[in-house]
Amino acid sequence: MPSLGSIRRSFAPWNDAAAKPYIAFENVTKKFGDFTAVDKLSLAIYEREFFALLGASGCGKSTLLRMLAGFEEPSAGRILLDGQDLAGIPPYRRPVNMMFQSYALFPHMTVEQNIAFGLKQDRMPKAEIAERVASMLKLVRLGEFARRKPHQLSGGQRQRVALARSLAKRPKVLLLDEPLGALDKKLREETQFELMDLQHELGLTFIVVTHDQEEAMTMADRIAIMDKGEVMQVATPADIYEAPATRFVADFVGTVNLFEGKVADMSGDAGRILGADGFGLRVDNLAGAKNGARAWFAVRPEKIAISAVKPADEGLNAIEGEVWDIAYLGDMTIYHVRLEDGRIVRTSSVNSRRASDEQLTWHDRAWISFRPDAGIVLTR
């Protein structure tokens, strides 16, 4: 039996030119008065995809979901679901269900009644409802709480009721607005994996909103990074991390060191980025850049090595500095190295050996070094 990972690896309809998006936002704008919450946004989401919308609070993620669910109408643009324009279709006729950020459980109904609510609206026969409710309760492991009211449940249990209720109708698309926001860290991590398994088992399309990058990285097939109502980049978690399109994305996801300069000495894709101090970083992925143009070399901390002496390899970029700060995290150590011009470079190294005497300490001279292909050249 193939593992979940290998199935996921082969799932990439966005690379398939023939694949039709299941959900398409086309130049969607949403204004509240003068305020533009979503700005000419276009997105394509595929069937069975686990899609994450990641962005700071207030960047328009919920508004985007609410437009898809039908609670808000776009001020301009179209939203298509399976090729059908959703304009004018009220929420109760859309084949999508939403798990609300606040859960929105009906306080006067038991867990069972909450889950059965949507099924009753569809006039499903009683026996079938009972069966479906039982299977949903089993899925979220709340069987023994069926007769409780929401106020008699813990936060995690409520969250699972909300999930069961939104899944009960077997919607084609499930929208989850910060589904795990109210849970503590451990429960949140457990639930992330549960959600992934569930989505895969039921073969549904999930769109999850989050402001937690780790959560998005863990769960999603693809992530859309949003800022001020616009999509900055849509890519797989690995591409978002290793090949961010802009400085904003590079900085938003994880930690990054940005070396600013002008492109010089280009030959093919290789060349240099000349900093203001005259130091030229050797880089070999300048495709698309122009000599003299402004550019940033973005390098993740874990791709920078730190050593007491200058590395022998002349092909590396090596810069001398002073150890400014050390954070020992057990599995790894983070060093902040201060360069001559005062810039701080962050590095992190895995502690693969147990602590030894020859470690660097505060105010030691140290060399940071990285390969020309350790980072990515950004022009925006």
Partner: protein, 316 residues
């Protein structure tokens, strides 16, 4: 040094004691209020209801006094009896008054709900900057005397009054409507006078309601109308119960409105009571009428208390 003898723990014990006393005192205030302003008058009225009419001052006997000592007092007490209550069952007037009062109060409560709910809903859904003003407008009539407002309705409802003039002028009717001195006028008067008592509790439950519940219901397939009944209306039931009782209870005993607007045909227990007191000067029978009225109202009041307690338990 043992903890018990340390000055800080003594202080603490003292503080705990004083906070305990203060706590009891706080509870004692409503009880004292009840005792002085409800139970004592209740027992006075109850005692009068067990007396006989007399041409005297006060107009009933026995009147308790300690002139003849404890033995004399006991002899007076033995003269008390339930004759007045028996009398109430012998004259249909009282039964009809009670029934008619309950009926009029129930119908007007329902009408008040029908008018009050949309008003409360509208205010609760209005932009938050407008809400205070709208609520103010609901309460505003209280700034004028109740009596004057009811009098004003005579001017509106009488055959040559404002309403009839308007309708005649609009050619909606060709002859004046007879509203004044009928039970219709009483309904109008009660709905008008008690509307704020319905709107305010309804508003406070509707205003607290989480709008995402409605969105969740619609998301799960409810039309807006069915979401209203299944969620909004259902969750506002405590407010509905509170509002209905706040209107129903005083409406049953209402005197001014039926007297001024209802004419002589409208039978209400408040009017009967007034007649007994001031026309017949039969204080004992009037007191018995009042005691029975209270017993009738105890049922909804107790129900109200229980509903409140249940709502408090269920809420959060």
């Amino acid at each position: 040094m043992t903890p018990a003898s340390s000055p800080t723990s003594e202080n603490r014990a003292l503080r705990r004691l004083s906070s305990l006393v203060a706590g009891r005192l706080v509870i004692a205030i409503p009880y004292a209020w009840l005792l002085v302003l409800f139970l004592v008058p209740f027992f006075i009225v109850f005692k009068i209801s067990l007396s006989e009419t007399a041409i005297a001052m006060p107009p009933y006997s026995p009147a308790f006094s300690f002139i003849h000592g404890i033995a004399g007092l006991w002899a007076e007490v033995k003269k008390l009896g339930f004759d007045n209550y028996v009398w109430l069952t012998q004259d249909n007037l009282y039964l009809f008054s009670y029934l008619s009062s309950v009926k009029i109060a129930a119908i007007s409560t329902l009408l008040t709900l029908v008018f009050g709910y949309p008003i409360a809903y509208g205010i609760a859904r209005a932009p938050s900057t407008l809400r205070a003003t709208l609520l103010m407008m609901v309460i505003l009539p209280f700034w004028t005397s109740f009596l004057i407002r009811v009098y004003a309705w005579i001017g509106i409802l009488k055959p040559e009054g404002l309403l009839n003039q308007l309708l005649l002028w609009l050619h909606v009717i060709h002859e004046p409507l007879i509203i004044l001195n009928t039970s219709k006028a009483v309904y109008i008067g009660i709905v008008y006078s008690y509307l704020p008592f319905m709107v305010l509790p309804l508003y406070s439950t509707l205003e607290k309601m989480d709008h995402t519940l409605i969105e969740a219901a619609e998301d799960l397939g409810c039309t807006p109308v069915s979401a209203f009944w299944k969620i909004t209306f259902r969750l506002s039931l405590p407010g509905i119960v509170a509002g209905c009782l706040l209107v129903f209870i005083p409406a049953v005993g209402e005197f001014v409105i039926p007297d001024l607007l209802g004419g002589s045909h409208t039978l209400m227990i408040g009017k009967t009571l007034w007649n007994e007191f001031f026309e017949n000067r039969d204080w004992p029978v009037a007191s018995a009428v009042a005691i029975i009225l209270l017993l009738i109202l105890v049922v909804p009041i107790v129900y109200f208390q229980q509903a409140q307690a249940r709502a408090e338990e269920a809420g959060r």
